[in-house]
Amino acid sequence: MLERGARSGPDKALALSITGLALSVPATLLPFVSAGVLGGQRTSLLFTGVGSLWNGGMRPMAVLVFVCGWLLPLALLASFAILRAPSGPGLEKPALLRLSRVAGALERWAIPEVQVLAVLVALMKLGDSVDLTIGPGFWCYCGMALSLLVARHSFEFDSTVPLQNAGHLEVGARP
């Protein structure tokens, strides 16, 4: 599966994965969006919404947003980087196969592009009622989402097979 997993060259997928991982740092630390109302100013970071949900007693929601919008996208990018590293990180082939399969199963939960659309919808919704400024954190997050979107197209997961049913694939793929 690994051998036929890459649709494009390994360099492209690897470069996109590293770019996405690098962009995730400023996306997390830099201001996302600033809003002002009647002299009051508030700047939100990527995790501000997660923190508000957590403190507001909606902890499962906070975890869901954190996992789908940040943790899994990064885990997926890291998996791509490991799987396409030219010399390999020293993992055995079964371990790489397992990583590929787990990444394929979790792929549908990594949805930063949906978060990007949600932020754009929210900004349109707020419209003229507040004075909005988009910060560099949001643009870096868009870059990370785009890197993941293109990088995941470089891979061909057998995602139609549920993980628990994938045992036969492992048997077939082993030498």
């Binding site: 929601m61 949805i111 932020v119 919704k125 097979v161």
Partner: protein, 174 residues
Amino acid sequence: MNALPAHAAPSGTSSSAALALAAAAMLVPANLLPVLSTESSGSNRSDTILSGVVQLWRQGLWAIAAIVFTASILIPFLKLAGLAWLLFNAHRGPAGNSRRLTRIYATIDFIGRWSMLDVFLAAFLTGLVQFGEFSTVVPRSGLIAFAAAVVLTVLATQAFDPRRLWPAPAPCPP
């Protein structure tokens, strides 16, 4: 060692059907309960998913209203209906339309993620719009039901084995 062919694998429909049923049940409170409250200058407004869409429409934000309506109302219902159709066909057995049904499964799998739009939207607004008495956005219980419905629908799709839509492969000669 499992001697059953792939088609007869035990997983595939029952767990998927149970998850889809749970998702359908969660869609009821998700659409009836308010998902967000906006408190501004003494007034308090609670919105369900549908009333939020209507408000966007009245504001003249038709494109945004259409996006939210599609992601939060249309896709969850279409996805569950599609999944029910696939489960029915898998239960009935292959009938020559396996390729079309598999395409429907792939479409359902792809569009499902966009239902999370409202969850991210609520999280973002809750984080940003906190201006005390001027304007404050607070998430409401309908949001939990909606997120549960979306997660259960994705899990139901993930649990469905599309091989059940195809005829069993001929046994290999010994």
